[in-house]
């Protein structure tokens, strides 16, 4: 009988607090994850929105192509108009 009481006391005074403490720690850690996930979610959404202008790179690429093509045309004309450095020194 005495051992039974001792067992009950251990159950109430040791086992129950330990269980509550451990579960409380788990719950606290899990609750700490949720705001971080929300923050990551908002940052990822903002990052995705920032990349909305990425397709404009195709326009930039076209314009660079046209610019370089114009540069090549201009250069070829200059090549015809101006003497080369070696020819000029002859």
């Amino acid at each position: 009988m005495t051992l039974w009481w001792i067992g009950n006391a251990v159950l109430l005074l040791v086992i129950l607090p330990v269980v509550v403490y451990l579960l409380h720690g788990v719950l606290k850690a899990v609750k700490g994850i949720a705001p971080s996930v929300q923050g990551i979610s908002s940052v990822a959404a903002a990052g995705s929105k920032d990349l909305d202008a990425a397709p404009l790179l195709l326009t930039t690429q076209d314009q660079v192509e046209q610019t370089v093509a114009g540069l090549a045309d201009y250069g070829s004309s200059l090549d015809v108009i101006l003497d080369d450095a070696e020819e000029g020194r002859r």
């Binding site: 039974w4 159950l11 996930v37 929300q38 990052g47 995705s48």
Partner: protein
């Protein structure tokens, strides 16, 4: 009495186990709810990250293509400059436009880093230098003294401008403007009546 004495510890134990079970249920249910919230948040993150991946997928190729095209443009310009002006003058020209750039040299011509930039880059303004390069026989090079710079490249360009005939650069400070003509001109002149009319015949001279 004996029954009560025996049953009391059992009741206490049942209560204790019940308390433990209640605590387990409370905390585990709370944890499950939080984990569900986290799962929902991670789903949002996954969707946004998927968007980022899909949107940024072509960026690498496009930027690489743009860089290669710009490289081709730079190579073209450098090649043209060196071909037309020669490596030494090209370095001088670049250094004249961007002081200190001669140290970096031209990308396609690694040996350009060893070229000492001609002093013209220290003497002339950009416009003068461009004119001098375009007309390779320009007398401006002959007017340049052998030592010492004519002007501080970071200062005014008066010294370089003095090398040219005195038309607009020193005096007068402002030349009179060109006259305005046409219907909107401030001074209107009446049209002469005889303009466009048949020529007057002079009376015949009597002999």
């Amino acid at each position: 009495m004996t029954v009560l004495a025996v049953a009391a510890p059992g009741v206490v134990m049942v209560l204790a186990v019940l308390l433990i079970v209640v605590a387990l249920v409370y905390f585990l249910v709370s944890t499950i709810l939080e984990l569900r919230r986290i799962t929902g948040g991670l789903d949002d993150v996954l969707a946004a990250v998927g968007e980022i991946v899909s949107k940024s997928a072509p960026v690498n190729g496009v930027v690489t293509a743009i860089n290669s095209q710009l490289d081709a443009g730079v190579d073209l310009l450098e090649g043209m400059l060196v071909k037309k002006a020669g490596l030494s003058d090209a370095v001088g020209l670049v250094d004249g436009m961007y002081p200190g750039a001669a140290a970096a040299g031209l990308r396609r011509f690694p040996e350009s880093t060893e070229v000492v930039a001609p002093r013209i880059s220290e003497v002339y303004t950009r416009g003068t230098l461009t004119l001098a390069r375009l007309g390779r026989e320009a007398p401006i090079a002959a007017a340049s003294p052998g030592d010492g710079v004519l002007r501080n490249v970071e200062g005014g360009s008066l010294a370089a401008r003095k090398l040219y005939p005195d038309v607009r650069h020193t005096t007068p400070a402002k030349l009179p403007g060109s006259p305005a003509i046409g219907a909107g001109a401030p001074v209107q002149y009446e049209q002469r009546d005889d303009v466009g009319a048949p020529r007057k015949r002079l009376p015949a001279r009597n002999p």
